[in-house]
């Protein structure tokens, strides 16, 4: 084989490799997306964001999948940093590692909202500035987490997390970030595993914000 033909062959192989790598990068297997609706005090829809893709599963999600979901960390779990910034190394602080079923008024896990605007990082372990539960200034009332069970249409399967936040603070609140936090282990350790900046979502006094996060996989 002469050098020109060899060069072309190598170029073709490299092109095919690059194409495959490009396809890999462009096509997540499980996509997280979010949408939100703003309603007034009468329940009338004021705004619907439509679906927006989440970009930010953080490192804790990989760690929780490894340790807890796939059971690979049962004997020697990899450390996970909780929302308080403490590194947890005991499996007893991780099991049930992905549960998000927070009740009304529980803001320490489940879907959370915040006012932080710092860029998302794989190393995020909490929201930048979480909005607290309550009716005081700058606070939102956290509803109970609810879920939409998996459903399949054609080749796509989806399930949904939902939480309603109500503004009884007396003023407007600008939500800038959302997160998903789980409540794990025997001693209620909390782990952030998804954080996304949303741009400003203004929730006026008396309004409610319904936040949905969908997990979708398509064959």
């Amino acid at each position: 084989m002469n050098s020109k033909r060899r060069h072309n062959l190598n170029s073709n192989i490299e092109s095919k490799k690059l194409l495959i790598e490009k396809q890999i990068k462009e096509s997540p297997n499980i996509i997280a997306s979010y949408s939100y609706q703003i309603r007034n005090s009468n329940g009338e829809l004021m705004k619907d964001s439509g679906e927006r893709q989440c970009h930010s599963f953080v490192a804790n999600f990989a760690r929780l999948l490894y340790n807890c979901a796939f059971f690979l960390g049962l004997g020697s779990p990899v450390a996970i940093t909780d929302t308080g910034g403490t590194s947890q190394t005991a499996y007893s602080n991780m099991h049930r590692g992905l549960r998000t079923d927070a009740s009304t008024g529980t803001s320490t896990y489940g879907l959370q909202v915040g006012t932080g605007t710092g860029a998302e990082s794989i190393n995020n372990t909490s929201l930048g500035t979480q909005i607290a539960h309550g009716s005081g200034s700058g606070q939102l009332q956290y509803g109970a987490m609810s879920y939409g069970a998996p459903s399949t249409t054609g080749t796509t399967t989806t399930f949904r997390f939902t939480r309603v936040f109500t503004n009884a603070s007396g003023g407007s609140i600008g939500v800038e970030e959302i997160g998903l936090v789980s409540n794990s282990g025997d001693f209620s350790k909390r782990y952030l595993w998804l954080r996304d900046l949303t741009g400003t979502i203004t929730v006026n006094n008396g309004q409610s914000l319904t936040l949905n996060v969908d997990f979708t996989t398509t064959i």
Binding site: A59, F70, I122, A149, T152
Partner: protein
């Protein structure tokens, strides 16, 4: 979240003789999504079809069964994974046993297109040394690494062809053990077609790797 898979073939001396492209896994199937859902919502049980085709109830944690999971650890050739009845503890005196080809990475010869409701490989290659079987080594996870903007880990399994003939692999899957009432069952989490398929000659080893990645 992205998942890839890749293969290697090694000769009888363990020398690498072929390595595939890294393929994008396309196919989390319903059983995985349902188990995933139970881990997150932790409130209500859900019916899921196991790898034998029977409907099983995947359950949330209780006072005696506190760890819902999608266990992907698989024993090696002829082995069984031992679980207590509450599916949370590996014991030396199992009340339930899952055999090597019912959990972890599995291979098959089927070429049927994947659908969301697939609950098993189309034609799984069994663990063994007889014709058309492969010896299954243990299946486990490795290499959890975090490097901004990516976190990833691998699920791996080694297979040896001691069947006396060549075997062509056309499909790959991940079987897991789910949290079910009293007795753990095997569920198909992922099924992918390997196209083109590849042949494992008698005496050769094949290494299969799934890489699971999350990215900001």
């Amino acid at each position: 979240m992205r998942v890839y898979f890749q293969f290697e073939r090694h000769n009888k001396d363990g020398e690498l003789i072929w390595k595939s492209y890294r393929y994008r896994s396309r196919s989390f199937v319903q059983a995985f999504i349902k188990q995933f859902y139970v881990l997150f919502q932790h409130t209500s049980n859900i019916a899921t079809t196991d790898t034998g085709g029977a409907s099983r109830t995947v359950i949330v944690g209780t006072s005696t069964r506190s760890t819902p999971h999608i266990c992907a650890i698989g024993p090696g050739r002829g082995g069984r994974i031992a679980l207590s009845t509450n599916s949370t503890v590996f014991t030396s005196a199992p009340t339930v046993a899952i055999t090597s080809d019912k959990v972890g990475i599995v291979l098959g010869t089927g070429t049927t297109a994947v659908t969301p409701t697939d609950f098993q490989l189309a034609t799984q290659i069994a663990d063994g040394t007889a014709a058309s079987t492969l010896e299954y080594f243990p299946s486990s996870g490795t290499a959890l690494t975090i490097s901004n903007p990516t976190g990833s880990f691998k699920l791996e399994r080694l297979f040896r062809n001691s069947s006396g003939g060549t075997i062509t692999v056309n499909e790959i899957g991940l079987y897991t053990i789910g949290s079910t009432n009293s007795i753990p069952f095997s569920f198909c989490a992922i099924r992918d077609i390997v196209s083109p398929g590849f042949a494992i000659a008698n005496g050769e080893y094949a290494r299969a790797i799934y890489t699971i990645t999350v990215t900001v």
